[in-house]
Subunit: 136 residues, 2 copies
DNA sequence: TATAAAAAGACAAAAATGGTCCTATAGGTA
DNA sequence: TACCTATAGGACCATTTTTGTCTTTTTATA
């Protein structure tokens, strides 16, 4: 239960790799994919989605590639994980207050909310900078 | 991310229903399924798996059905969830120490361990008795 | 024995996961 | 301008997981 998917794993590997690069350097997707052992086209999709929300910058054409869009110290693990896997949400009930018809009677509801908060707390407390430093 | 599946939801609904019954009473799968609005045969599978690990008792033949296998106060939400969804394990790495080749270099590892512990802590702290009482 | 009810196992549709491949677009460079 | 390089976007697809159903078997009771 609650497993991170490959996509999530790959996303983390990819962004940690970028964080380990000298500041300002752009890396080719081919380079990144090989280094972190992830299928290239799949990783490309992931980094593209990161580009859209600004946690990485991408450059097209010759001399292009990817780099972080923000200092690694200001990218949290939570952002990265939620970007590819969607919001942390242990139970569908949490999506909206009116969504679940069993809402009022459902005593499990507050438990999931608690779980959600705890997980978010942990992931918010870890930056990509820390992760990059740890495994250098 | 980290969503409970239908199976998990159904499992909780089913066991909470059993917990709300007068002690000693057995309920037909048809009765339970209708009450908690879960497909009967699917719920049957779930309760059968509960019977195997002893958190419910089942009786075959006329007058048969299901009842809790233990006082609801001694069945935790964690047990129920893990019974149907498998162990709480946010990252595959946590399965075994040698399983992940990136193990030594993987700085994310301890974070997932932390997440796992927090979640387990919450779910261990909630009994089926509490849930049953809450939504009565 | 007949009947009632769970147990077990095979099967299957639908959705999610984990990708691939092709074309389009943007940016350099000769 | 023409050409090359590299990401962007979209269509597609195989496999696995989820979410069930259906049939047969086993067990218990009356």
């Amino acid at each position: 239960m609650m497993e991170l998917t490959r996509k999530g794993e790959y996303a983390i590997r990819g962004i940690v790799y970028l964080a380990q690069l000298p500041p300002g350097k752009v890396a080719l997707i081919s380079e990144i994919a090989e280094a972190v052992e992830v299928p290239q086209t799949f990783l490309a999709k992931i980094l593209q989605s990161f580009a859209k929300i600004g946690i990485v910058n991408s450059f097209r054409g010759a001399g292009g590639g990817f780099m972080l869009g923000r200092p690694a110290s200001r990218i949290t693990l939570r952002e990265v994980v939620e970007a590819v896997e969607g919001p942390i949400m242990p139970n569908r009930c949490l999506i909206g207050s009116g969504t679940c018809e069993r809402d009022s009677t459902c005593g499990v509801h507050p438990v999931w909310r608690e779980v959600q908060q705890r997980v978010v707390e942990v992931l918010d407390g870890v930056t990509i900078e820390e992760l990059a430093a740890r495994q250098k």
